[in-house]
Amino acid sequence: MARQIFEWDYTNYPGAKKYPHVFSPIQLGNLIIPNRVKYAATEDNLNSHDGYITDEDVAYMRERARGVAGGLCTMQGVYMDERRYGQGYVGQAAAWDDKFIPGLKRIADAIHEERAVANFQLMHCGRVGGVETPFCEGPSFLPQRLRLFKPVHEMSHEEVEISIQQHIDAARRGIEAGFDVMEISGIVGYLVSNFLSSYTNRRTDEYGGDIYARCKFMTDIIKGVRGAIGPDIPLIIRICAWEQLDDVGGNTQDESMIVYQEAVKAGVDSISVTVGWQESIVPVISRDIDFGTWLWVPENAKKFVDVPLSMAYRLFHADMADKAIADGKIDYWENCRPQIADPDMPLKYLEGREEDIRWCVACNVCLARLFRDAPMTCYINPTCAHENDPSYYPQPASTKKTVFIAGGGPAGLECAWVAADRGHEVHVYDDREKLGGTIIDAGLAPYNDDELYRIIEFHKAQCDKRGVEFHIGEKLTAEILEEELPDTVVIATGADYLRGNGAPGFDRDNVISLTEALYETKPVGDRVVVWGNRKPGIGCALALAKKGKKVTLVGAERTVGKDINPSFRWRYNMFLRQNGVTSYNDCDIAEIEDGRVIIMTYDGHRVPVEADTVVYAERGPSAFAAELKAAAAEESIETYVIGDAVVPRGLSGAVHDGYKIGLRI
């Protein structure tokens, strides 16, 4: 008979009425889970380098457990070998010895204290492992496609058998630690997937050969783990339904479906459907991929297996998940990055507080950090990975102040709601007719960059709830400061677009600003040079190229998009190529003449480029910010400068600055 660990009654929650499928129970094996929300395993690099669980990781997991509101909460995958070939992240948790059980128990207990179901994941990182060893290991030696990863040691037959036993032993430790569900990770290039794929498994022994033989490593693990955990613990496996490795001879989709069937035959109760490897050249989860793009994948898999299926990729919203469940495409909703951005996201849906959700912008900076051995961070969630530090959370202010904020962009608004939350009286001034600052302009770039504006919607809702007063269309001036004498001024005016670098020709009529070009308030010719090869320039270049312009990007950065995190920069490079944008990096404009621009390379060479219009998209310090700062100093008002007004950066700097100053006032 099926059992249930925690009783949840969702009857009176508005979200349960709105999303009845998401907030209905599901049975995995012999376990009933109260809802259909799953937090997917996420590395966070918060644990010690020898694999012990830290207070920071426990706190991180506790918040995500609270967020799933009774659903399934998965801890990060553990590596299982003392040699550490399976360790793919410097702060990855370990389970290669019983000595790790007490630490793992802390995670299970934290999840249980939030009345969620605790899922334990086994994750040998295989071909992308060995983060602190000279080698990683895999079924076969073949050179790495990405220089980031270590050379592969080809596992002997004995080492394969040892690895299977290590999975089994680690599973037993997970159960002893108190976890309720067991999961095997076989995705994106980790060891199980290495054995499954024709790309990485060239073995001639019983673990290699056709797709059925390549499944043996996986099925041996499934059977062994099942033996160790018993029949009542649900067993999940995460495996690729489409490796996206056709260019290097990876599994076909038909082969992947055979893998699914073999996994079910071997004894799994559920499959988490994934797409793509880290070595795939096709994007899967970046912002340019439309929501719901991959739903056809589990829908197709359902024709081959009859166990519950879940999927995470680009399925951020409960309405999509609810419909997908109703339509029979998935059985439960998995998410990862949205709960990095907002740990309480599903809970807020349940409670009918959707306006309080801080949305993930799919920038992948979380991944970029992990690959560079840094602790997890989130582009738009300042508290991510600081859950154990009370100073990162708003506390009531000891002295209530009147706070005037100049600028209704992400920095100003983030600061506004946090300061108001702490009890301050907050006024936001912005001379634009709409809140959002630079993000309004950034949203005009193609490839779903309009998603960025959702952070502003979050901010507006938070400000409204806390009584922040908006002065829209009104600029905070020295006169207002002198008249009103607020206790504190926060300058969040953003940066200025610089009209040139002093080179001749920048005063011509065909030289226009980024906003003039994007909003077409001035004519834009067919041949355009965009000056500035950072985010704004790239977005503007792409927007103009999409309108059929021949665009040339010129900028001082040595590579285009130096201010974009590496896990997303490759996408922009591809967009620029696809749209025929030529880039001159490490260059500047030497002169603007009739019908052409002379570009100067870093070492003094001059290159002529035909241009009807020059758009300046390079940013510098805000003149207004300096003026306001001086005016505030004149009145001896406590002053903070935040966001791009400090130095031009991006949305993340703005949000993090705003949050921290909101805490400090």
Binding site: F141, L142, R202, D247, I281, A590, R606
Partner: protein, 173 residues
């Protein structure tokens, strides 16, 4: 300010050639340094070949992300990677078709490497063996990665006085 295109191109071209020359000189300077560090009894040929092997390995690393096995003309595409590499080093090199799409010939009409070898007193046998080893090493890794039986052999060589280098690149069935 006027813009003299001919002058700009001439300056750029001269700089490009200087970089190409410096690249080869650096290789032979490091070879010389390694031989002197080993001292008496140094096996010059073995040292040079090891350097060429490392070069071949590193070249393969740069090729692997560019390999697309799902595209037609796999062999020709690999050959073009070599062509681009050697053009960047100052060679005049092109791809010529073979008997079918599984065979091509890479033809070096001119290559600056033997000249530099002479300048540094390296024998032509070493230059040829080194270049061959680099190509073989690269192809071995490309073949391993792509799981295809890709082969390369030298049929003509400038260092042997044959006027040009010709390498046959083929997929053995």
């Amino acid at each position: 300010m006027s813009f003299d295109a001919e002058k700009e191109i001439a300056k750029l071209w001269a700089k490009c050639q200087a970089v190409q020359d410096e690249n080869r000189r650096t290789f032979y300077q490091c070879r010389e340094a390694a031989i002197q560090m080993v001292g008496d009894g140094a096996d010059e040929n073995a040292i040079a070949l090891k350097a060429w092997e490392i070069k071949g390995k590193d070249v393969a690393k740069s090729y692997l992300p560019r390999i697309r096995m799902d595209k037609p003309k796999f062999v020709e595409n690999i050959a073009k990677l070599f062509v681009n590499s050697w053009r960047n080093q100052g060679a005049v090199v092109s791809v010529e078709p073979g008997a079918d799409e599984n065979e091509v010939f890479i033809v070096w009409e001119r290559c600056p490497w033997p000249t530099t070898a002479k300048q540094y007193g390296a024998p032509m046998t070493e230059d040829l063996a080194g270049c061959d080893l680099a190509l073989q090493t690269t192809i071995a890794d490309v073949a391993l990665f792509s799981n295809r039986n890709l082969k390369i052999e030298t049929t003509k060589a400038i260092p042997r006085g044959e006027g040009k280098c010709v390498r046959r690149l083929w997929l053995e069935q």
